[in-house]
Every structure is written in C-alpha cells, then in structure tokens.
Symmetry: C2
Subunit: 472 residues, 2 copies
C-alpha cells in the first residue's frame, strides 16, 4: 500500500513515495516494483504520471528495468549507512575552529523588553523627519533604472558612485581628504571591524581597546583570538597604551559609552604611539555627525598622513541600522588586502542600496536630512539634560556635547542598587540601561546610558520625571 506524501506535483509525490520506501527498506535492492498500470489505478491517477516518476527514479539510479520482466530496485544500491541507528557519531559535537568556538558563545545582545513604554535604549533609528520617505524615493529611483550593470556582480571595493559620494561627504563634513580609491564600502561598521581583524589580528596578538567599549568591537577582536590590552578612559579620552599592541581600537569623537571627546593632544599622542609601535589605529567615527557645541572635532585620520589610521564610518546612526552600509578609509598599504578580503567574504555589498545611497548623498538630500536630525537631536538632548538636572539624586553627566546618547554616573548608588532600580523602571514601562556590560576590566561604577534619538521631548521629560522615585 503506497501513500503519497503531501506537497509538490503528483509526479514528484509518486517519486518521493517510492524513494522513501526504498530508503526505509520496505523495498529492498532487487525487489520488483508494482506495475505502473496497477499502481496508477490504486492511486487513482494517470498511468503516465507513474511512468514519468519511474523514469525519474531510474535516472537517479534507484531502479532498473529489465526488458519483459518489469522494474526492480537497483541491485547495487547501498543504503545501510543511512538508517538513523548507524549514524551515532553525528551526535558528537562538531570540532569547531577557535573562531567557531568563540562565535558559538558570542553575546548577541538582548531583545527589547515587551512592555517598555519610554525606552532610553541606545542605537535605535530616529523615525521622525523624512528619512523613511527619502529612502523610499531613492530606492524607487534606482529600481526604475535597473540594468545589466546594476544587477550583475559589482566591484568588491564598492560601487564607484558611492565611493565618490562618500569621499565628497568626508571632505565637506570631516575635513578628511580621502580618494574614492582609498574607500571600501562594507556591510555596516561591524563588517569593517571584522575585515580589519581578519587581516591584522592573529591569535595571541595584543590589541589595545578602550575600557569601557563598544561590544561589537570586543566580540570581533576576541573571536579573532586577540589578547585585549584594555586602556582606561579619562576626561581626555582613552589613555595611551602602556604595553605594546598591533592595533588600537578607539572612538575619539564620542567615546562609547562614556561620551568623552578625545583631546587633540591625546589624539596626537596616540598617533605617536602608533608610529613607535608600527601599529594601526582604527578610528570608529560612529556618530560624529552629531555634535552640538560646534563642528565635529577633526578626525584623527585628518590630523596626519593617513598611513597609520583606518577610518570607519557607518550610516546606521544617520539613516537606519537595518540598511547595513558603512565604509572604511584604508591606507594604501592595506587596500589590496581589504579588497580581497571583502571579495572572499561576500563578493560585495548589495548594489541597489549602494546606488540609492550614492544618489542620496550626491543630491545633497543626505546632508539636509542630517541637519534636520541634528536640530531634532539637539532639542532632545536639551530636554534630557534639563530633565536630569531636576533629578534629586546626586549624579554627573558625561558625553552630552555630542552623539546620540549620554551617560549619567550615580556616586551614591552601588551597581547592585542600580540594577534593582533598572528592574523597577522596566516594570514601570521605562527602559534604562546600565553601562556595566561595556566594561571588561575596569571596575564599573553605577552608570546609566541614555539614548534619546527615538523619543520626543515630552516623552523624555515624562520618563526622567518618573525615574526619581524609582532610583530612590
């Protein structure tokens, strides 16, 4: 009795029914198959359907036919190893590479709480303004003119239009003189970090990193097997590493998460250190677009000849994270390796989104949207700073002059008391977040990180007002 499995064409259902009988051993090598006429009648389907299914089985070597004698399961099929009982070895865990073992245990972060009403989570996109409308129009523009060139494999370094647009933007906005040839388009700053780590970090290599720091950078460097040389952060930014390192990862425009802006003297000292160590500096400029008390500080990349600095930019903060587009500005000595690594990794980033972004920047709309976003975020920041000012609990703010978040330190609270307050706040529908997880070695104080780019001024005020009793 043959029962047809569900799904697919009749022909494939017949094929699968018989194949499964063979695999289960219900039909053994050498066994005769039912005649197609009889099988078709019993299944109430056309005989021809059974015939073509038999043809498929024969094409794959499951069955043979002997003239005048009918069809048989192939004599030479060896199926025994496929029964589950003989595959015991497969339950042993696979032997992963050191990278694989670390990747398996990486902290993927926690999803947003369900019942959070006013969420001070950092890193969410700003849905006010016209970013979504702008993006819809740009995407519609590029999809209306799709050609062979835009649909086939593209340049691993990134579409030349986007690289030129980014070079122009960096010159106007950051004082960075980068040629389109030195820019590599990457799928978000995470990929930029990963490519650099794969090229420059061998297992055991000492790598300098701010402490506290961005968790994506920690994950990449640890997965590459780096020995992290943690450098505390003071009011001038990351302290210069006191031990040798191959590479320093730094967020000078707005240290993550403390918000400290690295002083020029510290920037120059870091470059001198890199020179003496023959090391590279990765300058992660993740939110320099937002500075509120003047133009953004000069990037390290623009301070000196750029052969020590790898500049990392992202569109996650100024457009939206799900876009997954960023860029590296790379010294000449590294460009071939980065281009090759990008090709090996994923050939190139998606072309249509690169073209939409190139047009968005070149048309001037991007920088207009940025100016609007800056004004919105300045108002939000002011609302947040003013509201925190009214908090009756002793605290200090840092990082308020730039970026899309600030940090509050509570000298009168222990970290355990703060954690309890965070839980109480969550139950009251207010999402606040401890900075503790960004610390690796430095002892953590009771510090909260406040992101504000998704909240209206009124909600910011309401949220902070509600915090006072919750923080005790």
């Amino acid at each position: 009795m043959i029962v047809l499995p569900r799904g697919g064409t009749l022909r494939s259902r017949v094929y699968r029914a018989i194949r499964d009988l063979i695999h289960r051993g219900a039909l053994a090598p050498g066994d005769p198959l039912p005649a197609s006429r009889a099988l078709a009648a019993s299944l109430e389907i056309a005989r021809n359907t059974v015939e073509v299914a038999f043809d498929d089985l024969r094409a794959e070597g499951y069955i043979t036919s002997r003239p005048g004698a009918g069809r048989f399961v192939a004599e030479d099929l060896v199926l025994d190893q496929l029964t589950p009982s003989s595959s015991k070895t497969t339950s042993s865990p696979p032997a992963l590479t050191p990278f694989g073992q670390r990747a398996r245990n990486v902290d993927l972060g926690s999803p947003a709480g369900a019942a959070i009403d006013i969420d001070f989570r950092y890193g969410h996109p700003d849905l006010d303004g016209r970013i979504a409308d702008d993006w819809r129009q740009e995407i519609a523009g590029v999809t209306s003119t799709m050609t062979l060139d835009t649909l086939t494999y593209g340049d691993p370094q990134g579409h030349p239009d986007l690289r030129r647009a980014v070079a122009g933007y960096l010159s106007r906005a950051r004082g960075i003189n980068a040629s389109a040839e030195s820019i590599v388009v990457v799928s978000g700053s995470q990929q930029g970090l990963d490519l650099i780590a794969r090229l420059l970090v061998a297992p055991g290599d000492p790598i300098a990193i701010e402490d506290p720091h961005y968790l994506g950078a920690r994950a990449v460097l640890q997965a590459a097997g780096a020995r992290l040389v943690t450098c505390p952060v003071d009011e001038q930014g990351m302290l210069i590493p006191t031990r040798p390192a191959r590479l320093a990862y730094v967020t000078p425009s707005h240290q993550f998460p403390t918000g400290v802006v690295m002083s020029v003297q510290r920037r120059l000292d870091l470059l001198r250190w890199a020179d003496s160590e023959n090391a590279f500096v990765i300058e992660d400029d993740y939110d320099s677009e937002f500075r509120f008390d003047g133009p953004p500080l000069q990037a390290i990349h623009g301070l000196a000849a750029s052969n020590r600095t790898i500049y990392l930019g992202t569109f996650s903060k100024v457009l939206f994270p799900a876009l997954r587009l960023g860029y590296l500005v790379v010294p000449d000595s590294l460009i071939d390796a980065v281009r090759g690594a990008k090709w090996i990794t994923d050939r190139h980033s998606p072309t249509l989104e690169q073209l939409a972004l190139a047009h968005y920047i070149a048309s001037g709309r991007f920088e207009r949207a940025l100016r609007r976003a800056r004004v919105r975020n300045m108002r939000r920041r002011r609302a947040l700073v003013d509201a925190l000012d009214n908090l009756t609990i002793d605290h200090e703010l840092s990082g308020a002059s730039a970026g899309l978040h600030l940090m509050a330190t509570f000298p009168g609270l222990s970290t355990a008391e703060l954690d309890a307050a965070i839980e109480r706040a969550a139950r009251a529908g207010i999402g606040i977040y401890s900075a503790a997880r960004y610390h690796l070695r430095q002892p953590s104080r009771a510090r909260l990180l406040f992101g504000y780019s998704t909240l209206s001024e009124r909600r910011i005020e309401r949220g902070i007002e509600a915090l006072t009793p919750l923080l005790r």
Copy 2:
C-alpha cells in the same frame, strides 16, 4: 598672511587654516595668534566667525587664552612626530595575518571585455522576463511600510518571514524538510561558504573539493588555510575522497563547471564517507532550479538525516547576483555557531531586501517567475545545443540537462590552440571562456564553458555559427 582652504563653512575654513599653520610649524607652541578683529578684517569676514573658530581650536587644545594677553598656541602641544619625514616606518608593508596575505593576492576575476557583442559568459543575470519589474514592485511594497522593527537591528539568523518562506520553497521545490530554525540568511552563497570555512576549517585542515571547481569556493578554502584534497569528476560526479578530510565541498545538482549530475549512488557513498570520517558535506545547490529533463534530483540534504549536510542556496542565479542574498540550511549541532559568526561578521543581512524577497516567495510570484525563466532557458539551451551540433569540429557536450551553462570538450584541440581561438573570437566580438582556470590539479583538456542565460536564441545561433571558422 592666512589663506583660507576651500570647502565647508567659513568657521571651519578659518579653523582649518590656523590648525594647518600649527601643524606645519608656521605657528609654534607659545606663539601668539593674530587678534580676531585684525584677522577678520584681513579676511573680510565677520569677527564673530573668527571668534567661534578660535573657540573650536581652544576646545581641541590647540590654543589657550590668557586674560588680557590674547590667544597663544598651546605650550604643551607635541607635534613633531607628525611631519612626514619622521614617519619612515610606515612605508614598511604591514604585517598581515596568513588570511590577509592570501586575501591580498586573491584572483578577483576579470571584468567583461569591452567590445564583446555576443557574450557566452556564465553567471550574468537574465534580464528578460519580469524579474526587474517584479523586484521593483516588491521593494516598493516593503519601503511603503517601514517601521521601527524593519529599520532597527534585525535577527542575525535572518528575518523570520524570509526563513519561513525559504523553508516552504525548499519543501515544495527540493523535497527538503528544513525548519525556519535551521535556516540562516546570508549575503550570497559566498558568505555562506566563508562562514562555514571560518567555523570548520583550521589552517592545515584537509578539505575535499571537486576538481575542476567553483573559484569562489577555492578562494575561501585557501584563504582559511585549508589543504585541498582534490577529487576528480567522472560521469557520476565527484569521486569519493580517498584521503581523510574534515569537509567536502560539492555541487551535486550540476557540477561546476562540468555540468555532471551526481548519481544517487555517489551521493549515498559520499554520505557514508562523511559518516566514517566524521566530516560535513557542503552541498552547493547553486542552480538546481534549472533542470530540463525532469524535476531536479533529490538534494543530498534530503537523502538522509541532515546532520552531516550543510545545504547552500542562492538567489543570484534565479533573481540577480547584485541582490547578495542566499541561505544555509544547517544541522542543529552548528546552528549556534553559524548564528554567532554571522553576528560577528556583519550583524545581519539588510532587512528591507529580506522582506521584499520573503513576500516575493510567499506570494507565489517567485515560483511563477522561475517557471517562466525555466521555459526561456530551455529554449536557449536547445538553441545552443542545436547550434553546437552543427559545429564541424569534433566535440562532446556535458552538463546540458540542467543549469544555465554547458561545457564542450574539443578532443582535437590543444589548450594552447583553444586559447588562441578564444582570443580570435574576442576580436570578432564573441565571448567564449576556457574551463582551464577552474582546474587546480587535474590536467585540463581543451574545454569551453558556454553560459546562455543572457542571450536570445537568435544571438546564440549567430554566435556559434561564427565560431566554426574561429576554432579552425
């Protein structure tokens, strides 16, 4: 005399002019700055502009002001290491990791010839049909409903909608029972291969690969430091490795580039080999959607319990390569590691394109487009096979029953003679391509690869007709 550099706001131009004077040493630590009133007058700009530029310079630590005495270049600035002459160490090549050294030298392929009229290049997208129109509509659909969820960071494993859609498609089209939980969305099959190599291939590990083979797989495995165990291909597909290996990379549906379909017996033997070696099989099913003499053969993945097989699918062939979307079907034992590696690598693939693709598949439009493409490609294949039939030079075809290319072997030609013919053809505006570069160890015979998915039947006929005299 201060000359303002070009670009940016007046404030930033004044800032940069003075900063550059300091960096060049024209203004030394301790030197007085010109009075803002005098400088404004000489530059014919507002005094206030000069004042705010001075504020920026002071905020960064370049200058100090002494009450009553004016402004001075900061005494403690140490700039000497930034003059180009002292940065000699930077001209030494950076110390790259073994991966980096291989990445720097990877073969990125050759761009298409400029004057090629009829191009039998393999891998270009099929612009007939309505793929571009379909895609424009799907993208417009998702961009019309952008929300916080679709714009913020997404699931590293891929959007659940797309994973469910792919699971349904695999069940209908490939007889693969994969849950959405076992699917990982990747940025093209290249990334799928790279993730697996990073997780499973340590330097020196023996990895089995077909010879000839797909160059993207070779590049990934070599960059990971694999010792390649090359396995010749006969008329049943890749021979079973005779030496131990951790992993076997195979294209059973339509071996690349020979086009051989792996027999069921060979598939079963390969699984048995994997069991005995405790190895994984990567099944790259890059073009199984196109089979012309029956339904696609059962994937290895569906032949047996799936804990030995990593299935790799791509939308590059059935939609277009620049989309950069593909997927892995991963055994339970590997899923956490693959998810973590994807997060480290680039957080996740772009969300809007994932959602557009999910809707395209779930709405049934994808499979309708696929059926149309199958009909078009069947006609093209027939035109190509018929035209090659008329070629008066001795040759054998393989790979014509499936995929989007076929291979012709010319027993009467040496590879040097073939290379000369390829050059003659290019000069005559016809692009034909040798299979030699896909071979690593096997001696190559005179073989041409013909892709046909971008050409009309008439152009296929014209191109092959013109070839006879060119092949001599």
